[in-house]
Point group: C2
Amino acid sequence: MEATIEVILEEGYAAATSRKVAARAGVKQALVYYYFPTMDDLFLAVVRGGAEVTFERQRRALEENDPLRALWLISGDARATKLNTEFMALANHRKVVSAELKRSSERIRDIETAAVTMVLRAHGVDLEKYPPVVMSMILTGMARNLRNEEAVGVTAGHAELSAFIERFIDEYSSAPSPDRDA
Amino acid sequence: MEATIEVILEEGYAAATSRKVAARAGVKQALVYYYFPTMDDLFLAVVRGGAEVTFERQRRALEENDPLRALWLISGDARATKLNTEFMALANHRKVVSAELKRSSERIRDIETAAVTMVLRAHGVDLEKYPPVVMSMILTGMARNLRNEEAVGVTAGHAELSAFIERFIDEYSSAPSPDRDA
DNA sequence: GTCTATAATGCGATAGAC
DNA sequence: GTCTATCGCATTATAGAC
């Protein structure tokens, strides 16, 4: 019943009503309440499912040979980013959503930071001076910010930022050279 | 009639109905439609007003002796950030809001970038290697991201990121030393 | 300018048939 | 499992009194 996602992406979370979701799924409104007792339960399931997908993608990225680039690409997924923004706004007035979003975000942040730690350590970077969690937050945060801005049509500085980040990623995707600084 | 802002901050944009806004402002519902023909007009006025306030604050920051820190602090304003997130979600299904948000964002980005350009140039930084617009986007973007995460209770990595950014700001708030690299 | 009253629509949720 | 039908309530917006 995650036709909910489509409605949210197209018209915003406020449009994700039991009637519209049902129509999109090709069923009648009352059936929504057969699977999800309340709308809160539906939203919770959608948040959980979305987080699970992202978490799995990030987990697999850990095993790739270019984790930083994978992190950058996954975090910049337009669909997931837009959904996340809607969930953030939704969390503002549905506390069960807020709690779930917190759990999911921290879980994903942990695995992202693990990936960055691995890469920086392999390249002999001073982890005190350049904490992996910070690099992880900037990398994933800016990827999301770009998509958010694109969603309203803002593109100023995007090319420059992408080039800058990709230059950074390139530096750490080559073979390790342990005596290099940042 | 910007009691609308309070309602949005407390319960999200979807709760900003003519009735709730009117109640908060201490008037009757119908009066909202006397000042704003439709709810779209009301939201538009709120977005415009909020952007104007931020723009003016950033403009004044340009004249201060520590523009980078001012940028960081203004961009991390909890109220403005939360409002902006709601507007982003609101823009998803109200195109007039989307257009206004685009205009405002680009205008603010321009003045932010001007401030960063000034500082970097005064310190003799290679502007090709470290484009001001990129530094401006990271500085303001991450400030907002921190507040957004705090809103759902996520604080992992926040202390580290703040320390990292502030170390950067400190470097460029002291007297210029033109032969330094980043 | 501010109000009361109301029309038309859509909402979450439930009852109960099949 | 899926449906029809419905309750009670909130919504945007308008008409019209004062």
